[in-house]
Symmetry: C2
Subunit: 242 residues, 2 copies
């Protein structure tokens, strides 16, 4: 009775770890959001698959639990790392009355790290990771976190910067940060990391306010120690020059 919770990394199979590949090979049942199942479809021959839409996470965890209780080895897959805004927490919650079901989280490369690698090295020193989705979190909590991270000179990585319903959230977030940081602060955003259509933009905080982003964009906001070097954004390791 085992559930692997597998992070696939940013996109292509090349960004999976060897452990992640092996867990999927070991699994009899594989489940995930349809888009991610499709990304690894050629690894799934002979396996039972169930996929579902993005908002059905609790249902998917319950079904994974049912399969595990029936004696099957299950792999729940998602992009990035399942421990960062992913399913790892939810599966522990859903399985809490079944301590005999073994849960093994296989970590993956989260968008903070894979996106950072595309745009340079913005997170080489202390950083904060914040989602702008207020579906499950009151905006007041999000605002407080943005302001605190900005005031304490963290580099900031933003997940879910906007969606159709939340078109102005990134602009609002930039507005808060501009109260603490210069509009010249180096920033970047990247889309479709590791997938077809990967592209990134280096800009200033002042420009980021007007950037067009979507659910698949990851945003980086530099600290006072971030600069632009040869078209990439780079945060120095510390507060002393080399």
């Amino acid at each position: 009775m085992k559930i692997y919770v597998v992070g696939l990394g940013p996109g292509g199979k090349d960004d999976m770890t060897i452990r992640a590949v092996r867990a999927i090979k070991n699994a009899e049942v594989v489940t995930g959001y349809t888009y991610y199942i499709n990304l690894i479809s050629d690894m799934l021959k002979g396996k039972e698959i169930f996929s579902s839409a993005m908002t059905k996470e609790v249902e998917r965890c319950r079904k994974a639990l049912q399969y595990a209780l029936s004696g099957k080895t299950v792999a729940m897959v998602s992009s990035g790392d399942t421990g960062v805004y992913g399913m790892a927490g939810l599966i522990y919650e859903v399985c809490k009355d079944h301590p005999n079901v073994e849960i093994e989280v296989i970590p993956g490369v989260t968008a903070a790290c894979s996106g950072a690698a595309v745009v340079g090295a913005p997170l080489t020193h202390d950083f904060a990771v914040i989602s702008l989705s207020d579906l499950l979190t009151p905006w007041e909590v999000i605002e407080k976190r943005i302001r605190s991270a900005a005031a304490a000179d963290f580099s900031i990585c933003i997940y879910n910067p906007s969606s159709k319903k939340r078109a102005d959230y990134l602009a609002k977030a930039c507005g808060y940060i501009l109260q603490y940081r210069s509009p010249d602060t180096p920033c970047a955003y990247v889309e479709n990391i590791g997938r077809d259509g990967e592209n990134y933009t280096i800009c200033t905080l002042g420009e980021l306010k007007d950037a067009r982003t979507n659910m698949f964009t990851t945003v980086f906001i530099g600290s006072s120690r971030t600069k632009i070097i040869n078209g990439k954004i780079v945060t120095q390791r510390g507060y002393r020059d080399i």
Copy 2:
């Protein structure tokens, strides 16, 4: 003229991505801290190797640049993700006058993610990553970040919690956080992630204050939404119950 900056993930080769394996295969010269070179020694046959001790990072980057300028493909390797307290930023700085040297950062699984997977799912919602090393950062900056992260209810992941010279730093950090959070807050720390001797402890914030940690320990401090489920620490995705 190319330098790969390769994150190996937490420890064993199983945690490397397929891209990381390929970059090392492509490289003619491989460099890194001696300990990491040894971890992947069986991949290095026929390659030129130079390794050095932990404090020689700038020197190692300069040597990598020299090799690249001589036309060789170089892989700089280190554990975890090179973009998180790693060499990715430094190599951009050292190469800043050589824009013709191509730098490709290959992201890896950083200890925040690999450690989180061992102890449960502490970082499934907004989190801050803070190093307690004051070698390059004034302690006042570190203190401000710890207090800000604690006040804004981030989950917190701490790198470099202590060393022989900094034996009491984690206790000091916990002291600050206890001004904002209950001593019952679920916490965890993990050592030797993905390597021989991997072990972890789940505890409370009050207990963490007295924990014995070292340079290879990664520490997790829960938010107000973190609880213990079947011996693991788990942060809920948001502020609404499932």
